[in-house]
């Protein structure tokens, strides 16, 4: 034991010296995907077809909200594993003319029908489905802050669903991975595995039933989904398969406009999605990190990665213990995002030793089937939107005749008591955090990522890559990532990272610090798929994540 302590001490001195002498600042290596630069408008999303559609809307005179709604509907078609009108999300909007930031909560919600007292939410099937919010959320954003009609912004998505698109390697891999989950649902199989085998890269994915559904929404508005024949089809499928959702649940669903969560980091204003999602976790993590000189620690030193683990673990305490649906739980958002609270939390962090133990809920209770898009228009309006089905292909349930794949959000309720516990009609927590960054009253960045529990760690790394390490947006996105929010003490704490892209010494030093290192041998979609745009000196710089099929287009 003494020997181990001595080894750790020696290692830490070595780490300190390495950090002092070999500080790594901005990584100026060439990027896998070139950074996109433009000046009028820009769209970054997880699929090139969706980004192109958003750009088309901007060029046609639409504003950033019109473009993001069109991109979101299109992305619901071309990234069916990660989002869709059977899912949900959150939008954060900055309106330049009004100098106003706002957000729209279209999180899904539990049915008002009570679950069994001892109900355990399954990972798939009708019982795992919550009331979808996507259509209501996108329609509300468009109605309040857009300039175009629903029919105009949905039209490109209808065309895509009808005519189909080429399956990418990424989508083919996800379909293959979820083939077994989808097998019990013949209708879903008819969409993603029409020949009986999963659609492969290069084949055409079509969903003509979804085109019909989208056409109805375009013609009749969101009521077609929540009160019309689509609602009837969802409720009937639920009833036939012992799901909880009925027509009343759908008819009473509302998207809600909320004040965003906000904070500061090294002179920048951070504006993100508030409760019941994870924006405050990002702000709190950054508040804690503000106590440290990250440049001094170096970009890829073990000490920096250890610091991030300690910070993120402390932030995530509040995810389970404090965060909840504000309609059901008093969430002290101002306190949670205050610098004083973060400082008090950070006071117990030691750079030379791991915190011994944190009592946590299973950190892998969510999944990484989410998607993010960022849009900036020529007027300077900026939008960040993240939407999800929870797991890839959600509940692995598609509603016959509609083309809609349903979410499995119910599993995001946590425990029987406390802020994140299940109650009928309640919205569940999630870590999604579409985020805007402002500097001196001007927009600086729009960011977001999928990645479940990796969302906040990834965004924290991206923000520090931009602000502390001075990276460009594409470079910040491509830089290697880590994930650790679950401290159990030396020898019991696993840190996951894209190890092949970090120096071997960093991995060795982490082991000396007591971490079990789980190394990925390439950039992996497990760590998210960031899409982002930064605005600097009148130019837009767009970055997309090579970990997925991200694409940026500007003009």
């Amino acid at each position: 034991m003494k020997g181990l302590k001595r080894c750790i001490s020696i290692a830490l001195v070595a780490l300190f010296l390495a950090a002092s002498l070999g500080i790594t600042f901005a990584q100026k290596a060439p990027t896998v995907i070139p950074e996109v630069v433009s000046s009028q408008g820009m769209v970054a999303s997880a699929h090139p077809l969706a980004s192109q559609i958003g750009l088309g809307i901007l060029k046609a005179g639409g504003n950033a909200v019109d473009a993001v709604v069109a991109t979101a509907f299109a992305n619901s078609v071309v990234e069916p594993n990660a989002n869709g009108i059977g899912g949900e999300g959150y939008i954060v909007i900055y309106l330049k003319g009004e100098n106003k930031a706002t957000s729209i909560d279209y999180r899904s919600r539990a049915s008002f029908n009570k679950a069994a007292p001892d109900e355990r939410w399954p990972a798939a099937g009708h019982r795992s489905v919550a009331v979808p919010g996507t259509v209501a959320g996108l329609a509300l954003a468009l109605e309040k802050y857009g300039t175009m009609s629903l029919a105009q912004v949905i039209a490109p998505a209808i065309k895509l669903a009808e005519e189909g698109f080429v399956v990418s390697e990424t989508l083919a891999g996800v379909i293959a991975d979820n083939f077994k989950r989808a097998m019990p649902n013949a209708y879903l199989m008819s969409i993603i595995a029409p020949s009986g085998l999963p659609l492969e890269a290069g084949e055409i994915y079509k969903n003509p039933d979804l085109a019909k559904t989208l056409r109805l929404i375009a013609q009749e508005g969101s009521d077609a989904f929540y009160k019309g024949e689509i609602a009837k089809a969802i409720a009937a499928d639920m009833k036939a398969n012992k799901g909880l959702i009925d027509e009343n649940d759908l008819a009473t669903y509302k998207a809600i406009e909320r004040e965003p969560a906000s904070g500061t980091y090294r002179g920048y204003d951070i504006v993100s999605a508030p409760a019941p999602v994870g924006g405050f976790l990002l702000i709190q993590s950054l508040n804690m990190l503000e106590n440290y000189n990250l440049k001094f620690l170096g970009f890829d030193s073990a000490m920096k990665l250890h610091l991030f683990s300690e910070v993120l673990a402390r932030a995530f305490d509040d995810y389970y213990d404090v965060l909840g649906d504000p309609d059901f739980v008093d969430v002290p958002m101002k306190a949670l995002t205050s610098q004083g609270y973060a400082n008090a939390k950070a006071a117990s962090i030691k750079l030379d030793a791991m915190t011994l133990k944190y009592e946590k809920v299973n950190p892998n209770s969510e999944h990484w089937s989410t998607t993010h898009m960022s849009v900036v228009d020529k007027a300077g309006n900026v939008v960040a939107l993240t939407q999800t089905l929870s797991s890839f292909f959600g509940a692995a349930v598609a509603v016959p005749g509609t083309g809609i794949i349903l979410n499995n959000e119910m599993g995001n309720f946590n425990g029987k008591k406390g802020s994140s516990a299940y109650l009928p009609g309640k919205r569940m927590n999630t870590t999604i955090a579409p985020t805007l960054i402002m500097k001196d009253g001007q927009s600086f960045a729009t960011l977001g990522t999928p990645g479940a529990m990796r969302i906040i760690p990834t965004l924290t790394q991206i923000v520090t890559n931009l602000i502390d390490y001075g990276m460009g947006i594409q470079e910040a996105i491509e830089a290697p990532r880590m994930y650790c929010t679950y401290l159990q003490g030396p020898g019991k704490t696993t840190i996951e990272l894209e190890g092949a892209l970090f120096p071997k010494k960093t991995l060795d030093d982490l082991t000396l610090l007591g971490y079990k290192v789980k190394s990925y041998d390439k950039r992996d979609l497990y760590f998210g798929g960031v899409q982002g745009i930064i605005i600097k000196e009148g130019k837009l710089y767009g970055g997309a994540d090579p970990r997925r099929d991200g694409a940026v287009f500007g003009y």
């Binding site: 293959a176 009986g196 497990y526």
Partner: protein
């Protein structure tokens, strides 16, 4: 010698299957299919075997002690999945140990061994490659989706092991050479 014969036989078998004629085959039924790396590709191969009406049993986690003479051919669906290994609760190291022990037992039982890699480029990487090397060294025949052999790893390993290698463009095309390998 046996492998040289198989090489020729399988070339003829595949050529015959492509041209629709009855070809030579070396593998006997029933087969036992297992996953090496716990990827979802295992499920797809079960579909292909069912379509080809090849009698088989499937066990993604079968260990050497579970292998017996009732199965004549061992089909290895190789490709590592962190998610799959995690869900199965086994480490990459343990999966490699299971694989090596399984292959040793298959040799003792004189089973034919067929390796399938159908996940393409995305089912490659350090973890997959370690498993692939073990499988290929002990196989009599291999079928791979071509995008998984862009760096020539399978081609080199097949040459080294002196076994036949059939490359197909996509997963759905793997059914024909697989069926043709069975008597």
């Amino acid at each position: 010698m046996k492998k040289t014969f198989l090489l020729c036989a399988l070339f003829l078998a595949f050529a015959a299957s492509v041209s629709g004629q009855q070809g030579l085959a070396f593998a006997e039924k029933p087969a036992l299919v297992t996953s090496i790396g716990q990827s979802a590709d295992f499920e797809m191969i079960k579909v292909l075997l069912s379509r080809a009406k090849i009698a088989f049993t499937a066990d993604p986690l079968i260990k050497a002690e579970g292998l017996n003479a009732s199965s004549k051919t061992l089909i290895l669906v190789v490709g590592a999945s962190s998610k799959g290994l995690g869900a199965a609760g086994i480490s990459a190291e343990d999966e490699l140990k299971r694989t090596n022990a399984l292959l040793k037992k298959a040799k003792e039982l004189k089973m034919s061994v067929i390796t399938l890699h159908v996940g393409g480029a995305s089912r490659r990487g350090a973890m997959s490659d370690t498993l692939i090397k073990s499988c290929m060294a002990a196989s009599d025949y291999a079928i791979v989706v071509a995008s998984g052999d862009e760096d020539g790893l399978f081609t080199a390993l097949a040459a080294q092991a002196k076994i036949a290698l059939t490359k197909v463009e996509r997963l759905s095309s793997a059914g024909a050479p697989l069926a043709a390998a069975f008597k």
